[in-house]
Point group: C2
Chain length 199, copies 2
């Protein structure tokens, strides 16, 4: 590197971010060093603070600054409902789009035996404790409609049943506002199998 | 923010990067905190080192770890040629794609009187000193083929002339491998005006 070793290291470090290729890493590095050093300092501070302070909620495994996240601490959230999702991004999406007022359980993945990800890696003993407590009325399965997500949902349904807790699966089908013609075959097939009688 | 204030601050700081919207900032923050804390620490280190050590070359204004960049220090680069570009990314592109072996001058922008960017903001007194030294044979104008880039090139051509240095402009036209039909009108018009006789 005939110009700057530190510039090259910065470009390499930015490339580790998801969705950032060589060109955009270069553009980001130049932007920070030429025009937005203050923004670069902000990013250092925010990243350091997040790495030092954000860990997982001890009850639901959501990312949290505290030992228990805000949802688990709140007595305005229905402890009788637990919605299981694969990732923190799913929690954010549900919080933003729905008025769901129960609690969560974040798997941080899905069952994937070939990758060595079993019930233990997903923290399912934590979930089982909550189901066994007698406090939970319904387990809402909101894992992704993929092969792994469905397999995980099926495993969780059995877990709920063994604890005598009702399980439900969020509906899948043609997206609202979507056009049939552009929906993928799997979704369309799912929408037909899951059709509801009109009364 | 019912989950994590530090997570939200990290998302906000990532959004300041060019080309990063709310969804990708969220994806990056989750990626770092869930799966790549080591990569996050690397980014903190690289960013801190770059902010502390990278500044501009005192001669050509390229980003550099040293008072003079590698190109300006090298006696294997022809000091009789200076290529003027708008940004460090242009220098990188030229270094990667061509065998240009002269030196550079990086404007870090272009003339833009309405934004208060005149010759002083572009460091042109530095360039004028080099042109006046008698060492420079040719000033190669590689500013962008935009209105501002052309105006800047025109100003620099006058500057070179006043120092009795020959100026040249890199060629613009239909990109090699490009199809006429997909080239924008301005480029096509430029390619016609700049046509060369076949001998
Ligand atoms: Zn929680
Ligand atoms: Zn230099």
């Amino acid at each position: 590197m005939i110009f700057s070793r530190h510039l090259q290291s910065l470009i390499d470090a930015l490339r580790a971010l998801p969705g950032v290729g060589p060109r955009s890493a270069q553009r980001m590095a130049f932007h920070i060093l030429e025009r937005d050093r203050e923004g670069g300092q902000d990013l250092v501070r925010a990243l350091t603070a997040a790495l030092d302070n954000v860990s997982q909620c001890g009850q639901c495994r959501m990312l949290s600054d505290e030992p228990l996240c805000g949802v688990c601490r709140s007595d305005r959230r229905d402890a009788g409902l637990i919605c299981v999702v694969e990732s923190p991004a799913d929690v954010m999406a549900i919080e933003q789009a729905t008025d769901y007022s129960g609690r969560y359980f974040v798997l941080m993945g899905h069952l994937s035996p070939l990758d060595g990800i079993g019930p233990e890696e997903l923290g399912l003993e934590l979930l089982e404790q909550r189901l066994a407590s007698g406090e939970v009325r319904e387990l809402i399965l909101a894992t992704n409609p993929t092969v792994e997500g469905e397999a995980t949902a099926s495993y969780l349904m059995d877990l709920a049943r063994s604890c005598q807790v009702r399980a439900s699966r969020i509906a899948h089908g043609v997206p609202i506002g979507g056009e049939l013609e552009y929906v993928d075959g799997g979704t369309l097939s799912h929408a037909f199998q899951g059709r509801l009688e009109i009364k």
